[in-house]
């Protein structure tokens, strides 16, 4: 069969177009890319490592269960380090180069606030675990929270303070959106309960010595101290409180009670310490909780924390949404927005109009002489 040059060129063009079409069709059937901007280095990596591990575990589990209607998911990670600027850059890099169908953002509210306008611009759903209420109040319909908001945590801490019989509570908080927001909510709740705070002291993210703040609260007569902290400074605060001979009970926000923080302190530092945790993670609960904890320990050699569990639950919610409505951003967003009573391992998730999916947490108390905690009560705030 003889070809003219013109026929040959036409055939070559047709073959090229066909291969492009086939490629596009293959790409449609290929991996579903999911972006994850996580603090993997720097001081915030203390908890960031947990989300990284949990999302990797979720990726394996989703794919082992057949993926998303036969397509595998692939998580692409970018490091947010400890700055808002890096968090924005990490997100921009993913959105421009990888173009994922879904995002998981950092659990640090200041980073979430910085990234929020970019998420809105590209209009792809994203889950985050930052607690600050101001993130949800921003009205970004593409953001979905997988942890209790700080108002829920503050309510839990106030409940713990009440259980301790606080008459003159004091508050110590990290000076950022999370700390200030949580402290102000707690102060209002305490005032409403008839026990207004005797003092509120702040510290900076890079501070390493808290004696001035703690002694100031003690001199004001605080009989219980509520702390809104990050993991590393939370651990240091608990340690320095004991070094300063502080005797009053301390109620801490969840970050000081994650395994990453607990490895830095001794059982003595936890004497008289209560707090809230997003989810009470006890293998004794059995079922999926036991399975998650044991598999996580086996895979990464450390105990999982509730923040990581929130991301794991979030990834499974995302997978179910994709299975039901596909990867179209709008359809997926709308599916998430109407999600009610979805039973995760850590929580039962129901999204409200502001994208808050978790409305409960646990109040815990350190068991004397150990670094383990007993459940005092769970609380739900709607």
């Amino acid at each position: 069969m003889d070809f003219t040059r013109q026929q040959f060129l036409k055939l070559a063009l047709a073959a090229s177009l066909a291969s492009i079409g086939a490629g596009a069709a293959l790409a449609q059937q290929g991996e579903i890319l999911v972006g994850a901007t996580v603090p993997m280095t720097g001081p915030l990596s203390l908890t960031g490592k947990q989300y990284h591990n949990s999302l990797r575990m979720a990726e394996q589990d989703i794919n082992a269960a057949g993926g998303i209607n036969g397509r595998k998911v692939k998580f692409v990670f970018e490091d947010t380090q400890a700055s808002n600027g890096t968090a924005v850059n990490a997100f921009m890099k993913l959105s421009q180069e990888v173009k994922p169908s879904f995002y998981f953002l950092s659990s640090y509210s200041t980073q979430n606030l910085a990234v929020s306008p970019e998420v809105k611009k590209i209009a792809v759903p994203a889950m985050y675990a930052g607690g600050a209420d101001v993130v949800a109040e921003g009205g970004n319909e593409w953001l979905f929270r997988v942890r209790p908001a700080d108002s829920v945590s503050a309510a839990g801490m106030v409940e713990a303070a009440k259980l301790l019989g606080a008459k003159k509570p004091g508050i110590l908080f990290i000076q950022n959106d999370f700390g200030q927001g949580g402290a102000q909510i707690a102060a209002k709740l305490l005032e409403a309960a008839g026990t207004p705070v005797v003092g509120m002291e702040a510290y900076g993210q890079n501070d390493k010595d808290f004696s001035a703040q703690m002694l100031a609260l003690r001199s004001k007569g605080a009989d219980v101290i509520l702390m809104f902290v990050y993991p590393q400074d939370g651990a240091l605060l608990l340690r320095q409180a004991k070094m300063l001979g502080m005797k009053m009970p301390i109620v801490t926000s969840s970050a000081a009670l994650v395994p990453a923080a607990l490895q830095l302190i001794s059982p003595g530092d936890l004497e008289n310490v209560s707090g809230v945790v997003d989810a009470y993670m006890d293998p004794a609960a059995g079922g999926r909780m036991k399975d998650f904890i044991e598999r996580y320990r086996a895979a990464y050699g450390i105990d999982p924390d509730p923040y990581g569990l929130a991301y794991y639950d979030g990834a499974l919610i995302m997978a179910e949404g994709m299975r039901k409505v596909g990867t179209d951003p709008k359809a997926l967003r709308d599916w998430l927005a109407q999600l009610r009573d979805w039973k995760g391992i850590g929580h039962v998730y129901s999204y409200d109009a502001k994208g808050n999916g978790v409305h409960d947490l646990a109040v815990v108390k350190a068991k004397p002489g150990t670094k383990t905690f007993e459940l005092v009560k769970t609380i739900t705030v709607n």
Binding site: T41, P43, L46, N206, D207, D209, A212, Q213, Q232, I265
Partner: protein, 291 residues
């Protein structure tokens, strides 16, 4: 009163660490004209030397502290040989940029070597407290103040009572004249860097039990040591001590009696006030260039 005593001693302990870091700053600056922007990372390296010896290798503390300081001696020599010596003939700004680069390298090397999770470095006096007029003082804080005081005394003896120290001061004043007088300038400069590294190492070992060992801990230390040096007088040894103590005390007393929200601001406002009112610092001398 008890709270004041507690704050005062804690401020002194923190100020002592700043003072040691500032001393390293001043010794290097006086001898070489170089502002060591890696001073904070030198301190971080000191803490992590302790972590490596006592936490990772499990050495008992007397041996662990000694080994950590020996590591800092080796680091000082290495820094002199690999960074300062090759750059010495270049303009001083090149050496300063070299210290910035070394600071970044040290921080990232520590990150690669130890990871981003902090370590707990315990004190030999862990859990021991002193009761002074109702104030609970940790023995470690008291030890920090005492160690600094002893070191300051030793450094004074070195610089003013030994031939070696007098030689180092001579190099600091006029390197060429010192060379012409037959002094081994290279050896004396190497000793200067080793001394700065060892002081930073001691500061790091004292700081470890007060904070956690964290690869990012160098930055706040460097900032405070720099403020201490400005307040005390750039180039002045007594100034470094006074400046360190002023910053430490201002930080804690200011946070307690003025506002904890502006803790760092208060310390740096004091520094700016010094720059405006007494730019030569507490112990510095006014130097004017003639036009």
């Amino acid at each position: 009163m008890a709270d004041f005593i507690q704050l005062f001693v804690n401020g002194l302990a923190l100020g002592s660490v700043y003072a040691l870091a500032a001393l390293g700053f001043v010794i290097v600056y006086s001898a070489t004209g170089v502002v060591n922007f890696a001073a904070g990372q030198f301190v971080m390296l000191g803490t992590f030397s302790g972590v490596a010896m006592m936490v990772n290798l499990g050495l008992p503390w007397p041996i662990g502290y000694g080994a950590a300081l020996l590591a800092m001696v080796a680091f000082g020599m290495l820094f002199f040989t690999l960074v300062y010596l090759p750059l010495r003939a270049s303009p001083v700004v090149t050496v300063i940029i070299g210290t910035v680069a070394v600071g970044i390298i040290l921080q990232n090397a520590a990150l690669l070597g130890f990871g981003s999770w902090p370590f707990r470095l315990t004190s030999p006096l862990e859990g021991v407290t002193l009761d002074i007029a109702g104030a609970v003082i940790t023995a470690h804080a008291a030890l920090t103040v005492v160690v600094t005081a002893v070191l300051v005394g030793l450094i004074w003896l070195l610089f003013y009572r030994t031939a070696l120290g007098i030689g180092m001061r001579a190099v600091a004043q006029d390197m060429e004249a010192a060379r012409l007088m037959g002094l081994n300038v290279n050896l004396l400069l190497a000793l200067t860097w080793v001394l700065a590294a060892v002081l930073a190492g001691i500061a790091g070992l004292l700081l470890g039990p007060m904070w956690f060992a964290d690869v990012n801990m160098g930055d706040p230390i460097a900032l405070k040591a720099f403020a201490a040096t400005i307040i005390g007088g750039f180039g002045s040894l007594p100034g470094a001590i006074a400046g360190g103590l002023i910053v430490g005390l201002t930080e804690l007393l200011g946070a307690s009696y003025i506002s904890s929200a502006y803790k760092d601001l208060i310390a740096f406002v004091v520094m700016i006030l010094f720059l405006l009112v007494r730019p030569q610092g507490v112990f510095g001398e006014r130097i004017q260039d003639r036009g």
